[in-house]
Amino acid sequence: MIIRIKLYASLGQHLPSGAVKNEADLDLDEGATPVDAFSRLNVPLEQCHLVLINGLFVPPAERPTRALVAGDHLAAWPPVAGG
């Protein structure tokens, strides 16, 4: 299945080649989780501070278990803030 991966700030360096504006398509096995997606791209899991699927927060405990579905947008940031 194809999902859209979005990696920002320092995580952007782990985007696959051909990524545009911090986004790329990623082909994953059915039932893959956010952790599977990050591991595929060698994104350090401890750096994935804010993780969103389709804009909704995924708590750390659900990241190894929550099944992604085709077309999901999976976004991640290291620890960041602003205001």
């Binding site: 979005k6 920002y8 804009g55 960041v80």
Partner: protein
Amino acid sequence: MAWAKQLLRVDLTKGTCTNEALNMEWAQSYLGQRGLATKYYVEECDPKVDALSLDNKMIMATGPLTGTCASTAGRYSVITKGALTGAIACSNSGGFFGNEMKNAGYDMIIFEGASKSPVYLMIENDSAQLLDASEYWGQTVWDTEEGIKDKHGDAQIRVASIGVAGEQGVKFACIVNDMDRAAGRSGVGTVMGSKNLKAVAIRGTKGVAVNDPGAFIAAANAGKAVLAENAVTGQGLPAFGTQVLMNVINETGSLPTHNHRDVQFDGANNISAEAMAEPRASDGKPNLVTNAACFGCTIACGRVSTIDREHYTVKDRPEYQKASGGLEYEAAWALGAATGIDDLDALTFANFICNEQGIDPISFGATVGAAMEMFEDGVITDKDTGGIDLKFGNAQALTELAELTGRGEGFGAEIGLGSKLLCEKHGKPELSMSVKGQEFPAYDSRGIQGMGLTYATSNRGACHLRSYTVASEVLGIPEKTDPLETDGKAGLVKAFQDATAAFDSAGLCIFTSFAWTLDDVAPQLDAACDGEWTTDKLLEVGERIWNLERKYNMDAGFTGKDDNLPARLLKDAAKTGPAEGKTCGLDKMLPEYYEVRGWTPDGVPSNETLDRLAL
């Protein structure tokens, strides 16, 4: 100690400068800066005063920690009635000016009356005098600051000044210090301009004494260690700055776009922190040059950037090709998403002009967004705009209007009314995205519900810096709450409001609160200041300050009915993103908020609450 225990009273009508002892009894109840200056202001100014009249006063105030070696302790605030809002205004600025004021031996400066001709206040430690500013009147902030330093032959002088916008009565004029740090919101620069006060220039070398130096240095160092070890304040903010939020907030469907018609912006990535770090085609250099820190700050979130020399805004204007401050997230949002413009260099230029001429980029960008909607709806035409094609997404319109508004000329003078008056003038009050006359910052309350309550109840009009529940609802600081839920937000907003009032009154930057709680602040204050300063006392002081501001606004004529949001946010559901189909549930949060505040169902602080807080 920590307080200088002295204030300077400047009577601009009479041209006198007089030292006074600081009321230390009030300092124990209101701490400093925002709290203590508001107490002075409320005691001395009729709540019904016209913001631009002789009878309005304006106070520049530091906190007890300002000028000490605590991290971020260089802050000062400007307290007055806001020209944009008619409500209590308190605008906080970093840079180096606050430190200089404290080192000259002043906790605060109270300005009253108005000068007949332009003046600036020059302070060199114990010497304070009003000097003729006619050579600077009509000059930009940047020229004024450089001119005063040159004239006095001292590059170490710190200057806070207004640009032409403040002279011309632009309602959201700000006071800019150190070239690009600003007491930005509510039109405090407009009040300064109405007093014919062009600038305040200070050289202070006295130092700041603390009660127990050994304990204070230990507490300040412990606080710095917490900031350094925290991933947000130690790594995230210095590396990416506030601008990293552009993609975060867009992804959560809370980025107000096209004057809040939309909640996500297709061009968000083009104006984000990531875009600022991207090498550009013309010279291979990124927009971002470096990060920067205010006085004593160990976080260093500030951005310094340049515009592509080939860009239309600066191609023939080398004076704007050098590096300067910005973009920060709020400015980038207002100049960009609110107007549908994704040209990073155009936004950087407009932001430079905002700093140069002293205008608040949030209110400016948001007002341009409202004008764009009226233009696209045919309510205003190019006859009104002087030929400017004011469509959403038009970068040239934005940059031209920044220059016109900065000088208060042409259609820029109309933009300078702020969105409330501008939209009312054209019979479309519902298109002003504001509360109490002040434009929203960069978070849509349909996708971040707590911010709806924050905006509606903010004492200085719509503002994110009174209760930044985004920290909890989006970023999980101190703990994650659901941004789409209204339950529990009343207590969350109150807790943020009271704690923020305490941070703002101590002399510290609110960004420390991404890592610190009041438990980290209390030991620093306790070691530095007279009296006992505990977390509980700080919470009580914060709540007292909030209620004092509220009471002043009610006496000024505001009521619970003003704790409201534009109909667009309450009735028009978000069209995309996680909040799709949702409006802001203010009606669910507000009654509970009044209850947890100890206010009547009409939003009036009850006698019990006022008694409990000794108000």
